[in-house]
């Protein structure tokens, strides 16, 4: 009798979705891209992915044990962080590089702030930027696709941002991933399969990825080549880590704005910073820095896009 008189505050509707389920589904949606990366670059890519994921999970376990928090290694968030970090590495890295990156991602990018939901920056990108600043030689040595014997080669983006025309790489090659690059970023087709799954199931909204990609394409078209309005926007969209970043990292729930309006501002800002770094910055690729800079701006975006209280 007493139980049936319980009065709770709203919300009263329950969905079976949970953080854990969403994390594992996002991980699942990244699997096609991993298969493509392993197919294109060979088994060493699989080693990098395995080591990255294992190091992330072990670090999470040790730190949660050390800080006497609930052990939550099966919620998928550490697996996802390790996976995204490994996808952001060139295939021919030494074995300790994904380990160092994952440990830094989880320890400094996430657990220092208090664990899942408290971090202000995307942990995987924190790890990538740490590796980029610490061991730039390994992070910028790319190998030719489908050669399996580690012939180094420049990425198409490096040529593109110097204003040179793309040689011997067609748009179809870019789309299918037949180009030098990071493990998980090369095969646009596989990334789009995963992204379509997330979009159709409603786990991510279109606002951030589409505004990110459109603004990158727009700014690349305007500023990408010497006379204005003649840049190769399609190649800019298809190369680098843009698709991986836009669909899987900029959309991280914790570090992106809450409202749709804020998400569009966030995505457009990411695109602007990406093109600025690509064309005028010291690094050839700017997606990771763009997302981190906009992560820092997220609280401010949230403050200015707070929805009006109904009736005021």
């Amino acid at each position: 009798m007493r139980d049936s008189l319980l009065v709770n505050t709203s919300p009263h509707l329950h969905k079976k979705e949970s953080v854990r389920r969403i994390m594992w589904l996002v991980t699942l949606s990244l699997v096609p891209s991993g298969f493509a990366g392993v197919f294109i670059f060979g088994l060493r890519a699989l080693w990098a992915i395995t080591l990255g994921v294992a190091a992330a999970v072990i670090t999470e376990y040790i730190l949660q044990l050390a800080t006497k928090r609930k052990i939550a290694i099966f919620d998928g968030s550490a697996v996802l962080t390790g996976l995204l970090l490994a996808y952001n590495l060139p295939p021919d890295v030494p074995f300790w590089l994904p380990v160092a990156g994952s440990v830094f991602s989880i320890a400094i990018g996430k657990q220092v702030f208090g664990g899942l939901g408290q971090n202000i920056f995307n942990p995987a990108l924190v790890g990538r930027v740490f590796l980029m600043a610490s061991w730039p030689k390994y992070m910028t040595t790319f190998v030719k696709p489908l050669s399996y014997d580690a012939v180094t080669s420049a990425t198409p983006l490096a040529a593109l941002t110097k204003g040179e025309a793309l040689e011997s790489i067609s748009y179809l090659d870019l789309f299918l991933g037949n180009r030098p690059g990071c493990i998980g970023e090369v095969c646009i087709l596989a990334l789009l399969i995963g992204a379509a799954f997330l979009l159709l199931r409603g786990y991510i909204s279109w606002h951030i990825p589409f505004s990110f990609i459109i603004s990158t394409g727009l700014f690349a078209y305007i500023f990408g080549a010497k006379p204005l309005f003649s840049g190769d926007w399609l190649a800019n969209i298809l190369s680098g880590g843009l698709m991986l970043g836009a669909f899987f990292m900029a959309t991280d729930y914790v570090t992106s704005p809450l409202t749709y309006k804020g998400q569009v501002i966030f995505g457009a800002g990411c695109g602007l910073v990406t093109t600025v770094i690509r064309f005028w910055g010291g690094y050839p690729e700017g997606v990771s820095y763009a997302i981190l800079i906009m992560n820092a701006a997220t609280p401010m975006i949230d403050r200015y896009t707070r929805p009006r209280i109904y009736g005021t």
Partner: protein
């Protein structure tokens, strides 16, 4: 005597300039790339801190309140000049690597803060001990940061290489490494209860 010891020890523990008051960040971040430089900077700042505290506290009743900051800066700049000339004469290598950061001790906010908050309100002896404690706290703080950064970033301790390799964590001797080390050490000192929240 007990109160003098307290004035000295508070600079190393609760009011540690680096981890407690979070003052003097400019030299802390810039010079802590090697232990040798950090120790040099710490000792130079301690020298200036002790003598400027001594002179300011003994002149505290003569300096008009309205022009006290220019007066402090003149006193501090005097000792910084002495310090700089001594380093250039006897330790030219240290002077070379510290460079602009020796003259910049004039505007080190630890020294200004202690002049304003302590030396102008207390008598000479406590001010000297306060300066000694603050200087020691600063030296310890900057040296611990430098030790960690040098070890991880270039694999050496005070210039003595430990391993024949060049694959150290480059970011640790860049600016982000300084901020990271500093942040983690502040967290650690608060966790251990050495400094207060």
């Amino acid at each position: 005597m007990r109160s003098l010891i307290k004035e000295f020890s508070k600079g190393i523990t609760t009011l540690n300039p680096t981890f407690g008051l979070i003052l003097g960040l400019c030299p802390t971040l810039a010079v802590s790339t090697s232990l040798f430089n950090a120790l040099g900077m710490g000792i130079a700042a301690t020298f200036v801190l002790v003598f400027s505290n001594m002179i300011i506290s003994s002149l505290r009743n003569f300096i008009p309140a309205r022009i006290r900051l220019p007066a402090y800066i003149v006193i501090i700049a005097t000792f910084v000049t002495v310090c700089e000339l001594v380093i250039k004469a006897y330790l030219p290598a240290l002077g070379e690597s510290l460079g602009i950061f020796i003259p910049l001790i004039v505007v080190n906010c630890i020294i200004m803060a202690r002049a304003e908050a302590f030396a102008s309100r207390n008598s000479v002896l406590p001010s000297v001990f306060d300066g000694l404690g603050m200087g020691a706290g600063f030296t310890v703080g900057i040296s611990v940061i430098a030790f960690i950064r040098e070890l991880l970033g270039s694999g050496s301790i005070a210039g003595h290489g430990l391993l024949k390799s060049n694959e150290f964590i480059l970011v640790m001797i860049l600016a982000p490494g300084a901020l990271l080390t500093m942040g983690l050490l502040i967290a650690l000192t608060r966790l251990l209860g050495i400094t207060k929240r």
